[in-house]
Symmetry: D2
Subunit: 350 residues, 4 copies
């Protein structure tokens, strides 16, 4: 049994992680930490749907020194800039760390600084951190002590775009038009997350400067090896709770301009043929409903032959494959467990 601590358990990603681990046959959650306001509460007070489950009292990061000895692995689900204060200490104590935040996703501190406008405070840890996208970094994840778990948008975008980019079929410029449910904005109450302000309305936000644009571009470059790739990323807040759909546009290069949809589907099927959590869709298009509550990424691809644009559609549950599920997938790989262990959910449908 892997003994586990979760920091940030009060948020949607944290609680999702907790409940996946509650049913994981090889993991045991030892403690939960969250913000000061949650201190001393049971997790079921914050999340009444958990009544009847193991129900620990929530602590805070103030106790990390006392608590870290009890666990093997710590999941951090924190706003950016905080995990970097704790990860080195945890590593030094021999713990493994999976960070669901942004601090360990770039392989270079300058890239982090460019997108997050702060100096990275744990450059050594950053250097050894592995980007936790199993479909592209599985071998490194196996040996990693520190995982930078991908953001929700980058997971859907990278899984969708990478096969095209690696194959060199499209010009080195892609557009990612992403649609996210409101849970991506976190659990804090605000005008932005107010039911009446979100319901029956769709809008873009952070049109030219969302930080995930950097992460998507960084991965596009690393996976394809083409330094010249540029990504335009526009996220939209959609009136639904869970899920991300990305619509990715890439222009076929002249030499590949005759390629047909069928060939692209074959490329995607071949690329992901051994992946337990990627489903290539042919007769139906990806829909966030089909992956809700699961660790799947569903992908479809089509060519518009009139315009030479390839359109890739990818759908994930932002809290599962986009956060907690992928984190558990990474844990399974790190501990040499069956990769799908604890993650065999079927979508709750309808």
């Amino acid at each position: 049994m892997i003994k586990i601590g979760i920091v940030g358990a009060g948020g949607y990603a944290g609680v999702t992680l907790y409940q996946i681990l509650l049913r994981h046959p090889e993991a045991k959650v030892i403690w939960l930490m969250s913000e000061e306001a949650h201190k001393g509460k049971k997790i079921s007070e914050l999340y009444p749907h958990l009544a009847g489950e193991q129900d620990p009292i929530i602590g805070t990061l103030a106790d990390i020194d006392n608590q870290m000895g009890k666990v093997d692995l710590v999941f951090l689900a924190l706003p950016h800039g905080i995990a970097m204060d704790y990860a080195p200490k945890l590593l030094a104590a021999g713990k493994k760390v999976i960070d669901l935040g942004a601090d360990f996703r770039f392989n270079h501190p300058d890239t982090f600084k460019y997108w997050y406008q702060m100096e990275h405070k744990a450059k050594g840890a950053l250097q050894e951190a592995v980007f936790g996208l199993p479909e592209y970094y599985r071998e490194k994840i196996k040996k990693a002590r520190l995982i930078g778990n991908p953001g929700c948008y980058p997971t859907a975008s990278t899984l969708g775009a990478a096969p095209l980019l690696k194959a060199g079929l499209i010009e080195p410029e892609i557009i990612v038009d992403a649609k996210s449910g409101v849970s991506g904005a976190g659990r804090a109450g605000s005008l932005k997350t107010h039911y009446c302000e979100r319901n029956e309305g769709i809008e873009a936000y952070a049109v030219t400067n969302h930080r995930h644009m950097g992460e998507i571009e960084d991965q596009a470059i690393r996976i394809s090896g083409d330094q010249g790739i540029r990504v335009t990323f526009v996220p939209h807040l959609t009136p639904m709770t869970r899920g991300i759909l990305t619509t990715i546009y890439g222009k076929l290069k002249d030499q590949s301009s005759k390629i047909k949809t069928k060939e692209l589907i074959d490329l995607y099927k071949e690329t992901y043929k051994n992946e337990p959590f990627v489903r290539i869709r042919e007769n139906v298009l990806p829909n966030t409903k089909f992956v809700a509550g699961t660790n799947y990424c569903d992908i479809g691809v089509q060519v518009n032959e009139r315009t030479g644009q390839v359109i890739v559609l990818s759908a994930i549950d932002n809290l599962i494959k986009g956060a907690a599920g992928q984190a558990v997938q990474n844990m399974n790989i790190m501990y040499d467990l069956e990769e799908t262990m604890g993650l065999k959910h079927i979508a709750l449908y309808p």
Copy 2:
């Protein structure tokens, strides 16, 4: 391994049943049947979220004679009036039957006729059928060959009202004001189920003659032993996909008029102390979100001391505890398996 056939797999209750059974360690679905229009299709064509799972081709009831030999247990999820044609034949062939429809829920054919305005065609089977509400009929279910699985409204209503009625605390007249998600109306496209007609609107329907009123009243009488009980039942169509919340009103009798909320909560806790799927709520009120995707029934109770009205609130997922989950719970009991086997879902939250 229990070998299973499902009739009516194309509907929401049927597919929910199928996907619960896909993860059940002691059950194996051998075949699926549905309406003529689905014949020859794979279940994943009807429900693309099931891609990657065992994917049988759907047949129809025309093949029941050929197919029934392959299974031990048949689940029927059909409109009322059809199961009664098939259940006797299945029983005669030594099969067990769990009917999710209305045909075997009453213990008397006259009651059936009163509410469904048709003659019952399988009176022998009706006589032996057991009402599949484990919290009140567990011992009979253990020995049953034929289960009339409760309707979604009666499950929530009966679990909520029965403790008060059995204890004789309230006058023999209750009001059940029920709020249901749209999935209760089935998967057929119509003006009634159209997104734009349902979204942002709530309305009552079948205000004085919903058939589940008969089932609720029948159970209220059977469980309490008081023939004089009358139930007023008003269902409402609510703009959400899943879930039922019932708000039950009962007037305290004079001799119990001093009773407090705390005592009622104790009564409910005592009543359901050994029930794995009933949660009594004290500090938070039942909410359909807390039970979505689970087999739980959450119950809260309060007295309005000014007016002497007891208000009971009960919440279920209409497709799980209100249909497929309860059917599997009944199967587990019939086959002497752990009652919660295959049903340990935690609500997908948020």
Copy 3:
């Protein structure tokens, strides 16, 4: 032209009032006030849908002494306990006042104190205040200087229940099961109003002590003249933005136990035959969608002949007939204008 000031313009009721008045041919809004945080902003900054309209800069109550001279009528849309500090001063200065909050809805300070647990600070004003439900107090409204505009739940409940109570057809005890959209909870961001916490869930709240219960009961007594009437009121938060549906239950007295639905519909039609904003529904049940954006109250009534319960259904838009629309209706009456002036909206459908 009536010159108007609105206090509380930043809330949903306040802004709804503002935009109704923007199209009112006999009214002109002179100034808007709201909370400190909104000071100095244009109303279109808070509500971007108002771009292109008259766009005043918002002030605060600190300026009331300077500002009140410019207007004839002040609408107050404030949390309870604040309007009572300002109304007497406004009246003394010769202004008319329509209070959309709770301070002037009861005709007795003890009733206010019982439900709001604070001493009323403007007992003189309270005494002269008229309850602004035109269908029952039109003559008094005509002469009033101060209106206590009804709450959203009491408007729907009273219009629905009063004909039965006045006619003495039912026992003096009614149950009101109300379903409200989230806009009734105001615009402040919180866990309670968070999209992800509300979407796909329905729950009751304030089950035995919602303050509107007092207002409903007070009106039931005043309109029927029966001091013995008791009201049990249970509100539910429903996953939709706008609208209230109330389902009202009353038990027929023995002597009226043979009454039929048709006779009740006739009673309701007769009661409201001259009312421009009440529609009695026969062939279709009230649905909040049918009244969204309008000042209508739609009412249906049926008898359950098996149980002798009368079920009344009433639907309003909580922000229009439940707040701002009714306030304008009251203004029209006070100023001897056509009662429907500025209120002839047709529901936005679908």
Copy 4:
């Protein structure tokens, strides 16, 4: 008073048109026609929210010869391929025609045939038809007898993209990623429009061959004069009732690569400075909620300076500016009325 007939009044666009005209001071609806199944019903039976309004009995196109004499102007809201059978006859009888369907939107029958795969049967009428987008064809509309009212997607897309294309700032290739509410799919009940299938899910459809792609491209070419423009259009079905948001991507040409967001906003403000129904957004992004129930098109524009992509966002209510409202705007222009007459709605918010 303009005497009006509406064909297709049973659909969402038709009824929206009807209710706008009910409040129009210079128009009077004489008759309504719809499909056979609606014959003989009152419009309020199909749409109960219209109770209390003028309530004509619905006829069918079988009566067009008898009925057309009574009116001056006929609105056609029909599936494509039918209006072309009736428009020539109406024109011959001296009637004006505004067609909300697809039959008269292209200026060349071959373009129609390419996108709709049927021969155009009214080539003469097609030749004289004017595309009813007032912002670009106002002078022609003034003199027109037959208007091809733009589709919902083309309205939002063209208003958003045209200024960039006319100014020659971007490469002649644009991508339009559009998000539509479900009402765009019409009122017919189907799996596609089922509440439970749409709620909490977003998906693309008709990814490479939606017919509106042709209309958008045709307008892009006509308005800019650049025959080489190619449009990639991908629509998405979004879980909301009303509204379209389009996100338009265009690549800055080398010579304009230094252009800033501010300059683009100035271009858009200048382009639409006299337009009553276009609002250029600077400090807030377009959101379908801000235009719900109105004839506005809200537009925002930004440059991603890293990638040289211009992103234009435009939002409309698909049933108003995307259909019925724009049709009335065209009518106002044709009859030399104030262009905003009957169209001064403020969004219903929240």
